[in-house]
């Protein structure tokens, strides 16, 4: 029973990857015992499971995911949050306010207003309703400073790197704190704007070149060069 | 659109067709009962009413004078319009024509125009300035499936029924004489629609079959059995061999339908 393509080969939707006793993994589908690609990307497989690492995709909510979102609407009993997904998310007032909540009397905008950023967790989602968020856990809540960056969600694992090696390198070289939302939104908080922008550049470069090899070395090189450039400037 | 069809019924229809049968007892290539009446609207130059099963369509033909198109200065003009009248279906709403009624109008138009059914050369009054304009207005009064075939058939029957007053041209003006003559027709195009359900082709889908079908294909034939118009519709697809099979089936059925127009 054949696999028709090699690992790391580029596929487009409809390309036949394998036929027979295999499992249709990420970004593939099965019809009549044949596995086809459903997105543009690179073929990867271990023994039986055929995957395509997609060049571009978008975030579909899943329970328990940690996401970074922007408040887009203040309602009577909660907020609408843009989580960089086809579906808007809801954050209930009762989740945020520690005291009992009275919709007629309480105005929610002092708590969270349009344009505010939150780190939240998805607590409820299925095909019939929009995802619901919670911020009632440690590490979640309103974001007060930092830069926001949007990255194609499939690239987030590459940004993290093997055992977190890539993301640690960036954090170390730029001195920034970085939160990676599963929904492709990245929060970067550093000591200076330059540090934050350097981290952003590094992450964007990873997104563009994620399918190439030797990336970790190039990123490290880029970050070190930028740092020496900065020090030279300081010494002038 | 129309009332939601239950999943149970959807499955039933699909399974029956898989076994070569239809819910209303018809063969896969059988049309519903067809009734054609002509001349039902006296104020129109031509008219017809078609009942295809429970689908009901009335077509009125009006013939007036107007300007020709610049690229055909000596030929009459054909224009087809379709109204999906709100009372015909819970899914039809009042308002300007939507994409479904525009598509239907253009399908009916194509069958008549491409087969050169109307001898437009004989509709010239003053070359380059004045010609006869044939308005074909299709009124769908009840939608129970296959509006395409019903509308095309009614349009053809109305054109066959259409009469123009005899006239002569004096100083670039049309002067009516006494008597009538039929609208000059050369061909009688017939359109046959097949739906794809359970990978099989089904002729003349009725409303519930349309809600289950993957796609439809409508093929118009002229009297010499040449194809003069085709339109695939629906969000599904056909394999190339199914397209050719549909053409074969449609050709056969078009003979049956054409016979119904002559009497």
């Amino acid at each position: 029973m054949p696999i028709f393509l090699e690992r790391r080969q580029l596929v487009t939707p409809g390309d036949l990857i394998a036929e027979g006793d295999y499992i249709a993994g990420e970004n593939t589908y099965m019809e009549n015992n044949k596995i086809y690609a459903s997105r543009v990307g690179i073929v990867e497989y271990e023994t039986k499971k055929m995957d395509v690492v997609a060049l571009k995709s978008f975030y579909v909510p899943r329970m328990e995911d940690i996401v970074i979102g922007t408040i887009t609407e203040v309602g009577f009993s909660g907020w609408t949050v843009d989580i960089n997904s086809p579906y808007p998310a809801l954050l209930r007032a009762s989740d945020v306010l520690s005291r009992p909540f009275r919709p007629q009397k309480d105005d929610l905008s002092p708590v969270l207003d349009v344009g505010d950023l939150v780190v939240a967790k998805i607590v409820s989602y299925d095909r019939t309703h929009d995802p619901q968020l919670t911020v009632a856990e440690p590490g979640l809540g309103k974001i007060t400073r930092g830069q926001i960056l949007k990255v194609t969600p499939t690239k987030i694992p590459r940004v993290i790197g093997r055992k977190g090696s890539m993301i640690s390198t960036i954090k170390q070289e730029t001195g920034c704190n970085i939160i990676l939302g599963v929904n492709g939104v990245v929060l970067i908080t550093g000591k200076t704007l330059e540090d934050e922008q350097l981290a952003m550049m590094a992450i964007l470069k990873i997104e563009e070149e994620s399918h190439t090899s030797g990336l970790t070395d190039r990123i490290t090189k880029m970050l070190k060069e930028a740092k020496t450039g900065k020090e030279e400037k300081k010494n002038e | 659109m129309a009332a939601v069809i239950t999943k149970v019924k959807q499955k039933q229809i699909a399974q029956l067709i898989d076994n070569g049968k239809r819910l209303d007892g018809r063969e896969l290539t059988e049309y519903r009962e067809i009734k054609i009446e002509q001349g039902i609207i006296e104020k129109a130059e031509g008219s017809a009413r078609v009942l295809l099963g429970k689908t009901e369509v009335v077509v009125g033909v009006k013939i007036e004078t107007g300007e020709p198109f610049s690229d055909t200065p000596n030929e009459g003009v054909l224009t087809v319009n379709v109204e999906l009248v709100p009372l015909a279906s819970p899914g039809f709403e009042p308002g300007p024509p939507d994409e479904s009624s525009i598509e239907l109008a253009r399908i009916v138009d194509r069958g008549i125009r491409e087969s050169k059914a109307i001898d437009t050369g004989k509709l010239c009054v003053v070359p380059g300035k004045k010609v006869f304009v044939v308005f074909v207005d299709v009124y769908v009064l009840n939608h129970d499936g296959n509006l395409i075939d019903a509308s095309a058939l009614a349009a053809m029957a109305a054109l066959l029924n259409a009469k123009m007053g005899k006239y002569e041209v004096e100083d670039g003006e049309v002067k009516m004489k006494s008597g009538y003559e039929p609208l000059p027709l050369r061909k009688h195009p017939i359109t046959v629609t097949c739906a794809k359900i359970s990978d099989k082709l089904v002729v003349d889908p009725w409303l519930e079959e349309e809600q289950v079908m993957d796609a439809r294909i409508s093929i118009a034939f002229d009297d010499d059995e040449n194809i003069c118009a085709i339109q695939k519709g629906g969000s599904g697809y056909f394999e190339p061999k199914q397209v050719f099979e549909a053409a074969r089936v449609a050709k056969e059925k078009s003979r049956e339908l054409r016979k119904k127009l002559n009497w």
Binding site: T12, R39 | I230, G234
Partner: protein, 249 residues
């Protein structure tokens, strides 16, 4: 005003633009040309110049149009006023409305609409210059724009027309051939699944001629499909080569 040409096919069997009967016009494709759109593509097919932008899946507006079990696909085929010889009014014509519908129906079979209930996918097609075969070129570009947006698809969709000109079945009619010829058959295909998703015809053809025309159009589709894949591949290759150069420095 344009005069009708004397002959569309000369004694050597060549057409007005020098092509053979079964030869395609030149096709150029580019992916990812509109940064604001989720996906986009640009096609030049002969003198046709068409731009397609895709937005979605995103929230449905107005809300009551949302479907509970799948995404709603909306398609707008529109011609720029300067795209044709005689200026065309920007208001949508009946032809544009019909084409918007059939183009949408040619792409829907390829999209996994059921993965994204209660969302909307918008396909915007702008014809900047038209020279016959715009609906086919639009479909070819729209499929690329959809793939570029990351919306999962069963297959790409590619389209091409064939027809009859002076008793010969020919591939890929340009505008003059379409106007003066005796039949035009546009076809859209999902190439890996061998599924025809658009099929129209106007003119007069015997059933045999029709079969030949469809088969010729399908051949044209397969040739254009290779160019579609290439356009998607180029997005990767450019970056790869940049890095190779950097590494060699």
């Amino acid at each position: 005003m344009n005069d009708k040409p004397e002959k569309l096919i000369d004694k050597k069997g060549l057409r007005l633009d020098g092509r053979k009967l079964d030869e395609l016009r030149p096709v150029k494709l580019q992916v990812g040309v509109i940064s604001n759109a989720d996906g986009s593509a640009y096609i030049e097919h002969g003198k046709n110049k068409i731009l397609v932008g895709v937005y979605g899946p995103r929230e449905v507006h107005p809300k009551h149009l949302a479907l509970p079990d799948r995404a709603v696909v909306k398609c707008r085929y529109h011609m720029a006023p300067f795209s044709v010889q005689e200026r065309k009014s920007p208001a949508p014509s009946r032809r544009e409305i019909e084409l918007s519908k059939v183009i949408r129906e040619s792409l829907e079979p390829a999209i996994f609409m059921e993965y994204y209930p209660r969302t909307m996918i918008d396909i915007f097609i702008e014809v900047l210059q038209a020279d016959g075969g715009t609906r086919c070129a639009s479909i070819t570009a729209a499929a690329l724009a959809l793939a570029d947006s990351g919306i999962p698809m069963r297959d790409l969709v590619v389209a091409c027309a064939a027809g009859k000109v002076e008793d010969k079945i020919v591939l890929d009619l340009m505008d003059t051939e379409d106007k003066v010829g005796s039949a035009d058959v546009p076809v859209a295909l999902m190439p890996n699944l061998n599924a025809v998703t658009l099929l129209q015809m106007d003119g007069t053809l015997s059933t045999d001629e029709f079969e030949s025309a469809v088969n010729l159009a399908l051949e044209g589709c397969k040739q254009i499909y290779a160019l579609q894949k290439e356009a998607l591949r180029i997005k990767y290759v450019n970056v790869k080569e940049e890095n190779k150069e950097e590494a060699e420095e």
